[in-house]
Symmetry: D2
C-alpha cells in the first residue's frame, strides 16, 4: 500500500461518506474515522468551544474543538496527498506513519479541557498538562481498542507523535506538520476562527498555493515550502499576527481572560483538577462556580458565565512602544508575582487615597514568558539548489518574529472592576504607584 | 424626530460602538440596546442554539439565537432606513412605532426555548407557547424597566407587535416586516444558517437589491417589493425551499427530531413545563434526561445528547411523488395519532414475525398539519401603476407554494432503532403491514 | 491507461504547471494543452468577450471566451475524474474518448465569433454557423497537427463530438456532458458571468455536491445525478433562469442587442461574412461600422461601440402575464417579419400623427422561436433502484421549463430612438396601432 | 448644504440609479455623474485595461480603468461620508471642495494611456506625462462644460487637486485621500485586481474597519486612522506588497513588460506620442506595431499582442538576498544605461562564444529609481491624546518600507529570447560576463 492508497486520502475523491463544515468544505469519513469520532472523549470536543471567552466579545465565535478537529484532520489528508508526490517524503515516511499522522491530526485536541490555553498560560506548578490528558484518552478504551482493531495501530505511536520527542527523521518531519509555522493546526484555526468571529483576517492566505508548494527541508526532517509558496507562508504568519492583535489578544478578551485566570489561581486548591480537566465546558464552569461560592471570585465568574455580563475595564495599558520601561518590568513574569504586584498596588492605593479596594478588584494582565515566535521554516530554491530560512528571505517575517508579535501585540494591562471606574479611581495616582508595587512584589519573590 | 434620526439607525453610519458577527457584519450597539442585550433573558439566548439538533448532522451549526437576534435587529434598521424614503411609509408609521419595531426585532426570539420549533410542531394541547413566554420576559423587569426608562416605550406595545392581532395599518405593516415571505427574520436566518452549516444555499439572494426594492403594498398595510426586487424575492423563497430540503428536513435531522419529539411526548407529564421553557439548552437537556431515567427514552435522549451518538435509521420513506396514497394517509395527522400508528405497527410486526419490537423502537415522522406556505407578497409595477402578487408573476413561486414545499420536501418516514436494522427487520413485511397499522390508529382515534 | 491516468486529470493533483482564473481556481496546463492554447485560433478567444453587449449595462463583464474555455476544460477534468469511479461509465467510455471530451471542452467555443448568440438568434438563411466555423479551425493546422502529433487524435473525432449527431452510447453520453441541463459549459458560465457582472445569482449552486452526485442515466447514454444531487441540479436550473432574467435578458441589454441585430440584418448583404466571422471583436466592430457608413445604422453602431453611448429606450413591454394576446402575436416570429412589423408601425404612426419616424428608429425585440428549455435530466434513486426525470420530482423545474423561462423572462419590447422620447411620442397611440402593424406584416409574409 | 447632502453621497442610500460592479457593489449614478461617464474621454477608459500585460499571465485580468474609476469614485463617497462626522474635517473642507474630490476621484485616471505605468517607468526625457494628458481632457469640452454647467465647478480646481502642489490644508488633506498609503485608489485596485486575477491577496484587509477609523492627522492636513484602524492599515500595506510580489512584478509579467519597454524605447522616435497617448488600447497597439514593421521589435510586439504568444525567458535573476553586489549595480539605473548594458553583454557573449546574439534578444529588467515606499500615515491614540506614525507602531510596516518592498520584491532579471534558450546559451558564461558589460555601459554613460 502506498500513501495515496490510504482509505481517508482515497475518500477525498470518492466522496462516499462526507460531513460538511464551513466554509463549504467536505470532510471524508471512513468507518474507522467515524468510530473515533463517535467515542465519548471525542464527542466531548463538541461541547468545548474553540475560543472560550472570545465569544464574550465576538458573539458568534461559538465553534467547537470538534469542528476544528475535523478541519485539521482533513488538512492532514491534503498535506499528505501533496507530499506523497515528493520522492524524499516517500523515502522517509511509511504509509503506516502517514496513517499515524492522520489519526494524530484528528485527535490532536483530545486532551484539551475548557479554557485550556489561558489556564496553561499561568504556567503553575503541579497542573496537569493537556498532553498527559491526551495520552490518557488515547491509551484507554474505546479509543485504544479502535486504534488497535480498526487502524492496526498502537496508541503509543499516536501519543508519541503528539507530544513525545521526535526519534528520527520521520517523526521529526511529521511533528513539523502538526506543529510549526505552517502546520495544519494553525492553517485550520486561523481560517475557522476568522469565519466564525466574522473577521477577514485569517482567510486571505492562499491555502491552495501553500499546500501546492509543500516540500521537505534541506535535512529532510521538517516541512518546508518551495519558492512558490514563500508569499503564502508570509501571509500565514502575518494572518496569525493580525488574529492575535484583533481577536485573541483583544483588550476585552484579555479582560475576561484575566478574570478567569485570577479566579482559577485562587480556587485551584479547592478543585479536583484531574476530574475537572476531563469535563465539557458547561460542567467545568459549574464546578468552578461552585468552588467560588462564598469567595469574591463568585462575582467574577458570574460576570463571565452568568446571566449578567460583567467585564473589568482597562485602567492602564503599556506596550513596547508606549511605555517601554514599565512594560519590560511587568511582561514575562511568573503569574504569582503578577498577582502579588496587583495586591500590592491595591494596598498602596488604599494607603494613598480614600478608596478601599479589594485585591481581586485590580488585575494585571501581561504577556507570559513563553513566546509565540514560531517562524522557522525553510524555503527551497530549486533553481539555485539551495534552502534559505523564511526569516532570511523575508525581513517582514523576521520583524514580526523578533519584535512585533510579543512586544507590540501583547500588552501589559491593568484591569479594574467597573465599580472602581464608577468611583472615579484616579488613573494618574494608580500609574504613579506602580513602581512601588513592582518593588513590593520583587521583595516578596 | 424622524425615523432616520432614531439613534440605532444613525449608528449604522457613525460606527461608534459596534459588535461584529458573521459574515463580516457590524451591528451597531447604542447604550439602550446594550442594556437589553445584557439582561439575563437575552443572555440566555447565547445558550440556546439556533438550529438545535441540526448540529448532529452539520457539526458546525452551533450558532445561537443571540447571534441571530443581533442579525435580525440590524436588518430592521436597514429595512427602516430604506422605507423611510417612502412617503406612504412615513405617513403610516411614526418614529415611535419604528422604534417599537426595532425593539421587537431584537427581542423576537426572547420567548424561545430550546428545541422550540420541533416541540411546538407537536401541536399538543396544554403546552405553553413561545409567544406567551416572550410576553412574560418582556413584561417583567429588567426588560420592562429598560423599555420604559431608556426607550420610553410600553412593554405591551412590543408584545402586541410581536404576537397580537394587528390593529391598524401601521401594526399590520410592521408585523409583515417581522413575519412574512420577505421578513427580516428569514432574511437573517437563511444566510446565517447556511454560513454556519457550511452550505451555499441561503446566501445567494441579493440582499442589497431586495432591501433596495422594498415598498408598501397596494393597500398600504404590508411590505411589498417593486418590480426590481421580484427576482430577489423569488430567490429568497427558493433559498428557503432548499434549506428545508437539505438542512432543516434532512433525513438524519428528522430522525433526531423524531426521537426528541417522541421522548418529549412521553415524558411531558413528568415535566414542569413552565420552568423548563425558561431554561437554557444544557439545563433543559439535563431536566429532560432526568425525567427519562428508568424509561426507554433515556436511551434515545442519551443517543442525541450523551457521549455516544445514536440515531435511528430510515427504514421507509414516502413522498408525494413516490407513494402518494400512503403519504397522504400519514401526512398532517395529529401527533398522538402518529404515535398510535407506530405502536400498532410494532405490535403487528411482532405478531407476523419473530421480532419482539418495543413501541419506542419505531417512530413515524410526518409533515405536520401546519403548512409552510408563506409566499403572499405583492410586487409593484410603477410604470403600469399596478400591483400583482408574487405568485401571479412567478409561476415558480406558485409551484413551490402549492406543491413542492410541503409535499416534496417534507416526507413521511419510518425511523427504526439501529438494533432493528442489525436484526435485519424485513422492510417489505413492514411496508405491507402499514395499511393495517393506519386502520388500527384510525379505530383508536 | 485508465481515465484517471490521463495527464490532464493527473495534473489536477500534481499542480506542476497551473494557470489561475477567478474565483481562485487553478487550471492545470500540460504541454499539449499549452500547445492548443497558444494557437492563433485559440488566442483569438482572448479578444472576444463572453457577454458582448452586456458590458454596456454591467461594465465589468469584460471577461473573455478564453477564460471561459479554460474554466470549461477544467470542469471536464472534474466530471471525468468523478465519473471514472462509475463502473458503467468505464464500460462505456474509453480513455481515448475521455481525452476527446477534454479537447472538445477546451475548444468548444473555438468557432464562436463576436456577438455570436444574438446574431445566430436571427436564424437567417445563408448565415454560416459557428459549428462550421469550429470545424474549420479544428481541421486546419496548427490545431489539426497538434491533435494528431501531440494528442494522437483525429480532428474529426473532436468536431464530431462537438456538433455531429451522436453515434453510439459513448458519444451520446459525452455530448450530454458538453450540452445539457447540467453541462460543464453552463456550470462554468453561470458562475463566471455572475462573478464578473458583480451579481450573486450564478454562484450559489453547490458545484461540489453536483459533481459528487454525477452518474449515468438509466439507458447508460446520458449524464444524470443521484438523489443527493437533485437540489444542486434544481439550483443550477434556477440560477440560469435568474441570470436570464437579470443579466442576459436585462431590458437595456436587449435594447443594445436589438440595435445590433437590426443593423446586422440590414448590412449583411455588404459584409464578407466568412471573413467577418473569423475576426476578433475589435476588427469585427470596425468592419461592421465601415459597412454602415452612409446608412442610418452608422448611428446605432456608434451608439453601441463609439465614444458616445446611445441606447434605445423601452417604449412598450409585453409579457405573458401583462398583455398575453399581443405577446403571443409577436413572440417567436421570424426576424424579417418582426422588421416588417416595425416598419409598418413607423409608417402607421407617421400617418396618424405629426411625427416623421424613420423605420430604424423603432425596433421590436421578441423571444426567438428556439426555446431555452433544457431540463431533461434523470435523477437516480439507488435505494428504489429507479430513475425519475428531474421534472417529475421537481414541480419547480417543470414550471420553469414549461412556463416561466420563455414566457415570463423573455418579453416582447418595443425600443425607440431617444429622439422619439424627446419628441414625446405618445405611447397610447403607438400601442393602439400595433394590431394594424401586425396585420400589415402578416399580409407581407 | 453640508457634505452629507451632496447628491452622490445621498444616493448611496436612496439607491435610485445604480450601476453594479464586482464584488457585488452598487455604484450610485446621479445625472451629473452619468454625464461625465458618457463623455468620449471617459468611455475610452472602458477600452484601456487596468493591468495591461498582466493578462498574459493571469488571463482573466481584463478589467478596465472604467470599472476601477467607478470603484474609486464610490470609495470617495464612503470616505467623505465617514469624515463628515469629524468636526476638524468639516472645519477644513467645504462641501464644494468635497465635491471636487468626488469629481477628481472619478476622473483620476482620465489621462492614463495604455500601458501607462511601464512606459512612464522608463523616465525618458520629453515624454508627455499622464497628468498633462489628464489636464488636457478635463479642461476641454465636453468635460469642462459639464463641470461648469452641471457641477458648478472650474476644471482647474480638478486638475489642481489631481496633480498640482497642495495650496492649503484642505487641498493637502484631499490630496492624501487620492494618493497616499491608505488612499481610495489603492483601496480599490488592490481588491479589484485580486478579484479579476483570481488571487486572494488584495481582498483581506478590513475595508469597513479602515473606513470606520478614518480621521485627520495631528496637523489637520492629511488622512490618518485611529488606533482601531491600525491593523487594517497594516493589512493594506501588506496586501500591496503581496500584489507586487505575486502579480505586478511576477517574473513573466516583467518579461512582457521588459519586451514592451524595450520596443517602445527603440521606436519612440517614430511615434506621434501626443496622438498615441490619447488612444484606446487596440489602436495604441496597432500604431506601435506599424512603427515596428521592418525592425526586430516587430517580433517582440507580435509575441505580446499577436496571434502567437512569445515571451522571453528568465536567464538570470538577482535579488537583494541572492546576489547583492550585482543587484546593486544594476538596480535603479537610468533606462538607457540598462539598454547599453544589455547591448554590451550581447556583444561580449558573441566575442566569447560561438553565438551570434542580436542586441534585442537580451533584455535587462531592473527596479526603477523611483521607490514605491509610501507608508507615512499617522495613527491617532485618542486616549493618550497623541499621534504616532504607522512605522513607529508597526515595525512590520517599517521593514516593508525600508527593506522588503524595493529590494526583495523587485528583482534584477536578464530575459532572453526563447531561441537563445533553445541554442543552450550557457548561463555561467553569461553570468561571468556581466561585470564587463556593466563596465562597458558605465564607460558609455
Amino acid at each position: 500500500m502506498s500513501i495515496r492508497d490510504i482509505p481517508e486520502i482515497q475518500a477525498l475523491d470518492t466522496r462516499h461518506q462526507l460531513i460538511r463544515i464551513p466554509p463549504q468544505v467536505d470532510v471524508p469519513l471512513t468507518p474507522r474515522v467515524q468510530s473515533l469520532i463517535d467515542t465519548p472523549a471525542f464527542r466531548r470536543l463538541a461541547k468545548i468551544s474553540q475560543l472560550g471567552l472570545v465569544s464574550l466579545v465576538y458573539p458568534a465565535a461559538h465553534h467547537t474543538r470538534f469542528e476544528h478537529s475535523l478541519g485539521t484532520y482533513r488538512l492532514s489528508l491534503l498535506y499528505l496527498k501533496q507530499l506523497s508526490r515528493d520522492r524524499r517524503f516517500l523515502d522517509t515516511v511509511t504509509p503506516k506513519q502517514a496513517e499515524t499522522l492522520i489519526v494524530t491530526a484528528l485527535l490532536h485536541d483530545i486532551g484539551h479541557w475548557p479554557f485550556c490555553h489561558p489556564l496553561e498560560g499561568l504556567a503553575l506548578n503541579g497542573l496537569p498538562d493537556h498532553e498527559t490528558s491526551a495520552a490518557y484518552f488515547i491509551s484507554a478504551d474505546p479509543i485504544a481498542e479502535i486504534l488497535q482493531q480498526q487502524w492496526n495501530m498502537e496508541p503509543a505511536d499516536v501519543t508519541s507523535l503528539l507530544s513525545g520527542p521526535p526519534q528520527n527523521d520521520a517523526s521529526h518531519l511529521l511533528a513539523s506538520i502538526l506543529s510549526g509555522p505552517i502546520d495544519i493546526d494553525k492553517m485550520d484555526y486561523l481560517e475557522r476562527d476568522s469565519l466564525h468571529a466574522g473577521v477577514p483576517y485569517g482567510n486571505h492566505f492562499d491555502q491552495q498555493r501553500l499546500i501546492g508548494s509543500l516540500c521537505l527541508n534541506q535535512q529532510g526532517n521538517g516541512l518546508a515550502v518551495t519558492e512558490k509558496g514563500r508569499t503564502a507562508a508570509e501571509l500565514m504568519v502575518f494572518a496569525r499576527y493580525v488574529m492575535f492583535s484583533e481577536v485573541y489578544w483583544h483588550h476585552a478578551v484579555r479582560s475576561a481572560t484575566a478574570m478567569l485566570q485570577r479566579s482559577f489561581f485562587e480556587l485551584r486548591g479547592k478543585l479536583a483538577l484531574d476530574q475537572l480537566f476531563q469535563m465539557a465546558e458547561e460542567p467545568f464552569v459549574t464546578a468552578l462556580s461552585q468552588a467560588a461560592q462564598g469567595t469574591p471570585f463568585s462575582e467574577l465568574l458570574s460576570g463571565l458565565f452568568g446571566p449578567r455580563r460583567l467585564l473589568y475595564k482597562r485602567l492602564l495599558e503599556f506596550s513596547y512602544f508606549q511605555e517601554q520601561p514599565v512594560y519590560q518590568q511587568l511582561a514575562r513574569r511568573p503569574y504569582p508575582w503578577l498577582v502579588a504586584c496587583g495586591d500590592a498596588l491595591a494596598k498602596l492605593i488604599n494607603e494613598h487615597t480614600s478608596h478601599a479596594i479589594e485585591p481581586h478588584q485590580l488585575i494585571f494582565d501581561a504577556p507570559p514568558a513563553k513566546l509565540e515566535v514560531e517562524f522557522n521554516v525553510e524555503v527551497a530554491y530549486p533553481k539555485e539548489d539551495c534552502y534559505r530560512t523564511l526569516g532570511e528571505v523575508s525581513p517582514v517575517v523576521q520583524t514580526l518574529a523578533r519584535e512585533q508579535f510579543d512586544d507590540y501585540v501583547k500588552r501589559v494591562r491593568l484591569f479594574a472592576h467597573p465599580e472602581l471606574i464608577r468611583q472615579e479611581l484616579d488613573v494618574k495616582t494608580v500609574r504613579a504607584l506602580i513602581p512601588q508595587a513592582i518593588e513590593a512584589a520583587d521583595a516578596l519573590a
